[in-house]
């Protein structure tokens, strides 16, 4: 069955390619197919291509145009290589929109060096840096992933509701840790909490007792550890437990993982955290569709990639044109209420509603709701460590 589906997909794609030019709209998929997240990107690209195949098969886009994906490598880390790859997509492939990029650094580089000068629309499925919110994008940049600034706010709300009003913060010394710590501290203090101290920790050290000593001296009801579960984070928690400095921890997404249960068990019972996640029905549909197409739907950011590609095509339909300058203004319209709710697998129906002059509210796989300058509002799963297990306390 899987093979048959794959074969149909390939046939559909090659059919689209054969009748290219006027009948096809090319969309760029720029992700780090080599580099630090190369194990995730094939699934993300698969998610985006799933949406494109669906639209092509429906035959409803702009009077029956096919959609042809063109992949390019962002490398995740090398801004120069990523910009060159994006440049190639636009000038020699003639893409009409870009699904990507993945990592925050290269996304910012492509946006300012290539997308803005060329007037190209970009929708990133996974760049979470708060700095991208204020990037100068001429209304061309969107993302279906929430900014880390949003996670800081969610975390602050969770703590206030639980009556934790004074915390010490330690973060891993990089853009992710610093951005998250800053946004959390700002949101927490605005909500009336107090941050006793904010200190960085370096990953990969043998001993964090000195860092914990300083944090303990500052005091607080709980310790916020904005680090990585495979790096220095557990070392900090261990040192804090050993010295009796803190026994309650606040854990953002980088710290949530199976390794946490294995290392600490019930020692950190009562600790709370947040991780991106949604309980929308779209997520389940997406998982089924991905599995049927031979993609690992549980891999991170697959749903976000599907949604990013879908938004590009729906906006084209709403504008009645595949030119970025025409449809960029329509993206927020199709993504948000009012209108008919659209879930994964219903792209054909959405295209017809739009063609008939109707309005849609794209929900998609990840409960898409674009706010501010066009980034996902973000839904988070609130977790609590209970009996040595990570348990879900709710969604927000």
């Amino acid at each position: 069955m899987k093979k048959l589906l794959m074969a149909t997909a390939v046939a559909a794609l090659s059919a689209g390619a054969a009748s290219a030019d006027d009948h096809a709209v090319k969309l760029g998929i720029i992700l780090g197919f080599t580099g630090p997240i190369e194990s995730l990107t094939p699934h993300m690209a698969g998610g985006a291509e799933l949406a494109m195949t669906e639209v092509t098969d429906s035959g409803a886009l702009l009077g029956g145009k096919a959609v042809e994906p063109v992949r390019a490598d962002s490398t995740c880390t090398d801004a120069g290589a990523a910009s060159a790859a994006a440049e190639r997509l636009i000038t020699s492939e003639g893409v009409k929109g870009i699904m990507g990029a993945d990592c925050s650094g290269v996304t910012g580089a492509i946006l300012s060096n290539v997308a803005v000068p060329n007037g190209m629309v970009m929708i990133s499925p996974s760049a979470t840096s708060p700095a991208l919110t204020t990037a100068d994008d001429n209304g061309l940049f969107f993302r279906t992933a929430p900014s880390d600034a949003r996670q800081g706010e969610v975390l602050a709300t969770v703590l206030m509701e639980r009556g934790i009003e004074s915390v010490a913060v330690t973060y891993t010394n990089n853009d992710y840790g610093k951005g998250l710590a800053d946004s959390f501290a700002a949101a927490f203090e605005a909500a009336g909490g107090s941050v006793t101290t904010t200190a960085a920790h370096e990953d990969g050290k043998a001993d964090y007792s000195a860092e914990v000593g300083a944090l303990a001296s500052a005091g607080g009801d709980a310790l916020v550890v904005a680090g990585y579960v495979d790096q220095g984070g557990p070392g900090v928690i261990r040192a804090a437990l050993d010295t009796g400095a803190f026994d309650l921890f606040v854990l953002p997404d980088g710290m949530i993982g199976a390794a946490l249960e294995e290392t600490f068990g019930s020692d950190i019972d009562g600790s709370v955290g947040t991780v991106p996640g949604t309980e929308s029905e779209g997520a389940d549909t997406m998982l089924e569709m991905a599995t049927a197409a031979g993609i690992d739907g549980t891999s991170p950011y697959v749903g976000e990639s599907y949604d990013a590609a879908a938004l590009l095509m729906l906006a084209m339909q709403a504008a009645g044109s595949a030119e970025p300058g025409d449809y960029s203004a329509k993206i927020l319209e199709v993504a948000n209420a009012p209108g008919e709710q659209i879930f994964p697998g219903e792209l054909g129906r959405a295209l017809e509603i739009l063609a008939g002059g109707g309005d849609i509210d794209y929900v998609g796989a990840t409960d898409v709701e674009l706010i501010g300058p066009g980034e996902s509002a973000g839904s988070y799963r609130e977790i609590v460590i209970d009996g040595g297990k990570i348990t879900t306390a709710g969604y927000r």
Partner: protein, 336 residues
């Protein structure tokens, strides 16, 4: 009560960790200082020798844990340590025969030997990573605490807790035993005396019939034992990762030089000086001062001289000060 609380907080975050860290540094520095005193060069491969001995110990520990052999409340690694020492001894004897002897016979200058030791360091570096991998390894088992912060609070009713880990206790006890044995050996036995004679004046020692090959061999054996013990204690107390052992080279050398290279007593003092300065200078004193200072005078800020990121800088600065004002070290070792 406030004074007691201050004292307990100080012990918990400064005194106990610094004491354990100082013992580990002192053992490491003893190895460096013995090589310098007797073989007359700075052995840059010492950090990786420690890593190698620890690696062998870890592998034997895992085998023992799998076979169900243990020491009850004490870590199994103590039982595996003799095997680690033997493995490390074999390694240093092989490197000495394969590498260092060639240059010694040629009477190469110390600086050449230093560079040779850097080469050995890189090879050991790779060897350890090749065998056990570059990641963190945990091998501590048994009882984790002699007294945990919570029990201490319940026992004494104080606000502050004092935690003493088993590994910290073992570190200090082992260090005392090892140092006592070493000094007994150097001062009381015939071989020890011949080593000191060789160190003081090589030509005179040769004239009086001391066998130089034997002195060199015994030195390497002792250094291997010291390095393994230091490495295992550090790994037990913190965690084992090849890269952190490489980084340990700086504080270990700082300790040996501050105390006076070639002087064993100096190495021990140096270890504790470096450890206590690193910890006290980067500690935030707010909590302790909050207890001791009179009402209304408690500090607002953290009262932290340097951020903990600058830990290594502290050993560098002490090293520089000592080299500027007392190049032979505090205990009159040899000039560098």
């Amino acid at each position: 009560m406030d004074v007691l609380n201050a004292l307990v907080a100080l012990s918990n975050f400064v005194l106990v960790p610094a004491l354990a860290y100082g013992s580990q540094l002192a053992l490491g520095a003893l190895g460096v200082t013995l090589i310098y005193g007797i073989l007359r060069f700075s052995n840059f491969a010492h950090g990786d020798t420690m890593a190698f001995g620890t690696m062998v110990t870890i592998l034997v520990t895992w085998a023992m844990q799998a076979a169900g052999i243990g020491l009850g409340p004490l870590p199994t690694a103590l039982l595996a340590m003799p095997f680690g020492i033997l493995g490390c001894m074999a390694l240093v004897l092989v490197t000495d025969h394969a590498v260092y002897r060639f240059y010694r016979v040629q009477k190469a200058k110390p600086v050449i030997l230093v560079i040779v030791s850097i080469g050995v360091m890189f090879i050991l570096n790779g060897l350890v990573r090749f065998v056990i991998g570059p990641d963190d390894q945990r091998f501590a088992d048994g009882e984790r605490f002699i007294i945990s912060a919570r029990t201490f609070k319940e026992m004494t009713g104080l606000e502050e807790g004092l935690a003493i880990r088993t590994t910290q206790g073992i570190t200090v006890v082992t260090a005392v035993i090892v140092v006592a044995l070493l000094f007994w050996f150097l001062n009381r036995t015939r071989t020890g005396k011949s080593m000191r004679a060789y160190s003081d004046n090589e030509d005179l020692a040769l004239l009086s019939g001391i066998n130089p090959d034997r002195v060199v061999m015994v030195t390497w054996l002792i250094v291997a034992a010291l390095a393994t013990v230091a490495g295992v204690l550090y790994g037990l107390d913190k965690s084992f990762k090849p890269f952190t052992y490489f980084q340990l080279l700086l504080p270990v050398f700082a300790s040996a030089i501050v105390g006076g290279l070639g002087n064993p007593l100096g190495a021990i003092a140096g270890g504790f000086i470096i450890a206590f300065s690193e910890v006290t200078i980067t500690y935030a004193w707010k909590k302790v001062l909050g207890y001791v200072m009179p009402e209304g005078l408690e500090p607002e800020g953290l009262v932290q001289l340097l951020s903990t990121d600058y830990k290594f800088a502290v050993s560098f600065v002490i090293l520089l000060i000592v080299l500027l004002f007392r190049p032979t070290g505090l205990f009159r070792g040899k000039s560098v």
